[in-house]
Every structure is written in C-alpha cells, then in structure tokens.
C-alpha cells in the first residue's frame, strides 16, 4: 500500500532517486508553462480570438476578481504568485483522470513546499507594502501580550495549509485505490468524480487562504475599498 507517490521510484542511480512526485511535478510544470507559451504567442485584442486565449482570459480574469474580492486593491502585484499556486494545485487535481498519474500534491513534500512558499511570501509582500518597521509592529497588535500568539499562528497556519491539502489529496487517491481492489468497475468512477470536486475545492481554498493571509499582512497600507456608485 503506497501512501504517496514518493514511494514510486522510476529511476535510481546511487543516492539519487527520481520518484513519482518529482516526475509528475515537473511534468505538470512543463505542461503549464509550454501551454501558456503556446497560447500567448499571438494574442489578439479584436473579437476574433482563439478559444484557448478565451479560456486563459476567463481563468485570469476570475482569479483577478477573487483577489480583488479578498481586499487586495492591486491584484496585478499578487496574481503572479497566487495564480500560479491555484493553477498548479488545480491542474494536479484535474490530471487524476489520466491513467497512471498520481497527484503530486498527495505527497507531504509537495504540500509542505507550497505552504513554505506562502510562509515566505506573506512577510515579503507585507514588508513591501508597509516597510520593515510597520510590518514587525503589526505582530504586537493589539497589545504586546499577543506577540507570541501571533508568531505561533504564523507557523501553525502554514502547517495546517500543508496537512489539509496533503490529507485531502492522499485520501482521495487512497479511497480510489482501495475501491479498485474491492469493486473494480463502477464505484471507483463515482469516487474519482468526487475526488475531482474535492481537488478543485482544495485548490480554491489554498489560493483563497494564501490571499487572505497576504491581505492581512498588507492591509493597513492598502487604500480602502472604493464605494460602488
């Protein structure tokens, strides 16, 4: 019984192992970057546009709107980081319909890496928006008593991000694997569909939580939301 694609060894040369997680991660990265490159080669602004450009416009526009809804007034600054997180997690969940593929997010190494990216990005964006002094002061708000708790929350929410994504993806893959040994015809299909749904929800949650954390770190300097006419 394999808990994660870490144990799926494709190639080994001495201490260097190429396991499933690395292979699938790089495959996804290759597919995403090459696909984006191909689509954005010849962009048009008139009404006659390719369907792929239409798809990308919808995706990018939706992500931008979500970032704006969280309260970040300048989504262009953050869409590079947050959009990449969302697209990677969503693609790794969607590709489970390909036979022989296992989601790289079903391994704790991948999810910890993604969560560490968020852990580093929050102070970086916060310091860029407020300056070092103001950002460090925000840890001692509302009173100095809250300082240790704020620091603990930074670490614990990173752990929660990593373990939530890992648990969801791993459980989905494992349920399908167990069902395949018991009732190998129709029932696993239903569970795979359910796994696709949970994967998309988890991708959205990971992205929105990262956006909320960044919004909380940059909030005092952001201009207030404009009143809708």
């Amino acid at each position: 019984m394999r808990l994660s694609p870490d144990d799926l060894i494709f190639w080994q040369h001495g201490p260097v192992k190429l396991n499933g997680t690395i292979a699938f991660t790089w495959g996804l990265m290759l597919a995403l970057t090459l696909g984006s490159k191909l689509v954005t080669r010849n962009l048009t602004t008139d009404l006659a546009r390719s369907r792929w450009q239409n798809l990308l416009e919808i995706v990018v526009g939706a992500i931008e709107q979500q970032i704006r809804d969280v309260g970040l007034q300048r989504p262009k600054t953050y869409i590079g980081f947050l959009g990449t997180l969302f697209l990677f997690v969503a693609a790794s969940a969607l590709c489970t319909i390909v036979p022989g593929y296992e989601p790289p997010t079903g391994s704790l190494s991948t999810t910890v890496a993604l969560a560490l990216c968020v852990f580093v990005a929050v102070p970086v964006f916060g310091i860029r928006a407020q300056g070092v002094g103001d950002y460090l002061k925000s840890y001692a708000k509302p009173t100095l008593v809250m300082l240790p708790f704020n620091i603990i929350s930074e670490v614990s929410r990173t752990l929660a991000l990593a373990v939530r994504l890992f648990g969801n993806m791993m459980s989905g893959a494992m349920i399908v694997a167990i069902l395949l040994t018991i009732t190998p015809f129709l029932f696993p299909i239903v569970m795979t569909a359910l796994g696709l749904l949970t994967g998309m929800v988890q991708a959205y949650i990971f992205f929105i939580l990262a956006a909320v954390y960044i919004a909380a770190a940059t909030r005092p300097s952001e201009p207030g939301p404009e009143k809708a006419p």
């Binding site: 019984m1 809804d69 929660a160 939530r164 890992f166 648990g167 494992m174 949650i205």
Partner: protein
C-alpha cells in the same frame, strides 16, 4: 497478550476511534456553518460573494481538524513507528 498483539490492538482501536470521533464533530460544525450561511444568503442575496468566500474559508478551517484525525489514523495503520519497531525486534529474535 504479548507486546505485539497489544500494539496491534491499540493501534487499530485508536485509529477507528480517531476517525469516528474526528468525523462526527467536524460534521456537526460544518452542518451548522452551512445552515447559517444559507440563512444569511436567503436574507441577503446581494452579499453572496462575501458570504460564500467566508463560508469556504471557515469550512476549510473546520475540515482541517477532520483531516488531522484522518492523517493520525492513517499513520497508525500504515506507517506506525511502534509497530515497525515491534516487527523489527521480532525479526531480530
């Protein structure tokens, strides 16, 4: 009952209990959260975007507790350090 059986029984029973209790309580919490969110949506359809986003964030927080319980039970069954230790000792003898 020798040590090996004791470790196995403790692991399996604890894993079952962990999953059981750890599914019940978050389910109650999520049910209440969804019910309240639906009430709020019915009263204020204009704020649908905010309510839905906050609901999802809250559900993620609640659900992570269930996931912790699930991960603990998975570790107890499939990657139990005590069980591996006992197996290694019994092979060594």
């Amino acid at each position: 009952m020798d040590t090996m059986t004791l470790v196995a029984v403790a692991s399996i029973v604890t894993a079952g209990l962990t999953t059981g209790i750890g599914c019940m309580c978050p389910a109650l919490g999520e049910g209440r959260a969804v019910a309240t969110a639906l009430t709020a949506l019915a009263q204020q359809p204009d704020a649908a975007a905010t309510i839905t986003r906050t609901l999802f964030v809250g559900l993620a927080m609640i659900e992570s507790t269930a996931i912790y319980c699930f991960v603990v039970s998975m570790i107890l069954i499939f990657a139990n350090p005590f069980w591996n230790h006992v197996i290694a000792q019994s092979v060594g003898h």
